[in-house]
Symmetry: C2
Subunit: 305 residues, 2 copies
């Protein structure tokens, strides 16, 4: 859905965070995995079933305090078709609990291929006279290297089905600078990419002032985030890099507007694998960490910038 | 596998082409689709079965004259888990017929997420004590916007399992220039990306002089392709944009080295949907077009540059 629905959900829970459902098999508690292997055998189907159970437990534990989840597609694709089924069931379950679902797949292609991706994740697919929604996410992450041809088909689908996308601008990783920070005259590559997003989405602005094309802006680069926040007035930010990657709540705060809106901060491992450093079960441990993250962000956003 | 195996296969068949298996449902002959709908109902499973039958027919018709196939992941993901099963079965069947398999998924992420993608497509995944190869492609296309963090995990897997990747440098679409052609001092963004590929792969060079990290270079930009061919001595090129997108055999020729090696040219629709403009069945029509494309490339490469 548009970011207006996401912003309302964030306001309602007073919590601008999203939990990354990145079910690396090493993050799944051994009892869940063992139970599934016992039932299905030592195979990709068992692992996929374990992911579904794990995610359902996390969603149950978090849905009344966290507005959104962000499944990372790679960890599902790892298990082939079985894993992709787990992805679609995870999205369905999260949506049934009222959560906003962002599939983090960083897709990027052109023309009819981009249209196929957007139909898969945000739209509908027709077989004969029947229509299906294979994943029915609210938003999808996309890559920007291909330019506007790689964004337009996603935006068209987003408009048609009341969805949104987050496009890569300044990623959270150490080598992001190798391409993204190269100077183009007085700008850098990621500035040009950000400007492209503002330009291409200007007819899709919602009641909060944000378009359907958001930007991925890493919490690990707070100076760049502040610069982008001032430059991209109509762009909602998805902020990875908090927690395990080193970004703090104060760093993430630079991605919010003066009203404390316009951004959502992701944590994956730090929450879903919190049980490894805890005496609680994985659901309680995740909830504790999610509350801690929420309170940290509330605290820095309350202070203002 | 490394590009050396691909080059040997190209030399053996004297045909530097790859057929893009992009099974848009509109490209599948109606009798195949109707048969599957009759058997499975009007649903994503029926469409996925139709794709498998369609692809098997194409592979049978082409495997003795065309060295490689390139399934475009978007058209499989469109059908959810059923479609992803069709992708893995297509890869398996093409490999069983001796074809080199390039999955065109343009994946791009960092750290453990990139490692998960590379395990899925090029490597192995462990459940308990058992190991699985979910897709077992020979090569995968990857995006470069994230810098070397987004490439290294794929290269590590490629080295471990004797595989390769093709990274986006200069794509074939009209808006490629919006980011890729921006000037960075005396270079352009895509030059910097190309140089990064040469640098990061320099320890993986095979007997033909090519590394495990190839580049996607569109046939629609012949001047840029010639420039890159001269600059990236150790980089094997995957050349999209031939045929339906407007690139000719003469345009594609700029991606080859002086020995007529170091590149492979893709055509998708032009071959797999050739039946729409033909009186033959789809397999014969595809074979005719594939022979025509092969002969055009042979002719321009024979002339030399």
């Amino acid at each position: 859905m548009s970011f207006a629905r996401l912003q309302k959900k964030i306001d309602e829970l007073n919590n601008p965070t999203v939990v990354g459902l990145d079910p690396d098999l090493a993050h799944i508690p051994p009892d869940i995995m063992e139970k599934c292997i016992e039932e299905y055998g030592e195979n990709l189907e068992a692992a996929s079933r374990a992911i579904i159970l794990f995610n359902m437990g996390l969603i149950d534990a978090l849905c009344d305090i966290v507005p959104a989840v962000k499944p990372q597609s790679a960890y599902y694709e790892m298990l082939g078709a079985h894993g992709v089924l787990a992805l679609s069931l995870t999205c369905e379950y999260a949506a049934s609990k009222g959560m906003y679902v962002i599939i983090d797949a960083k897709r990027g292609d052109i023309g009819s291929t981009a249209a196929a991706y957007s139909a898969a994740y945000l739209g509908t697919v027709k077989v004969g006279e029947s229509e299906f929604m294979p994943f029915n996410a609210d938003a999808l992450t996309v890559n920007t290297y291909l330019g506007s041809d790689g964004l337009k088909p996603f935006i068209d689908t987003a408009i048609e089905h009341d969805k949104a996308i987050f496009a890569l601008v300044k990623t959270s990783n150490p080598s992001a600078a190798e391409i993204q920070d190269k100077s183009i005259g007085k700008d850098m590559v990621y500035h040009v990419v950000g400007d492209l997003l503002e330009d291409i989405s200007k007819d899709t602005i919602d009641e909060f002032g944000y378009s359907r094309v958001g930007a991925v802006v890493g919490a690990t680069y707070p100076i760049e985030a502040e610069f982008l926040r001032n430059r991209l007035k109509h762009t909602f930010f998805l902020v990875p890099g908090y927690g395990a990657q080193g970004g703090t709540a104060s760093d993430a705060a630079f991605s919010f507007d003066k009203n404390g809106r316009g951004a959502i901060v992701n944590s994956s491992r730090g929450i879903i694998a919190a049980w490894k450093k805890s005496d609680c079960d994985y659901m309680e441990a995740a909830r504790e960490e999610a509350i801690k993250m929420r309170d940290e962000l509330r605290s820095v956003l309350k202070k203002g910038k």
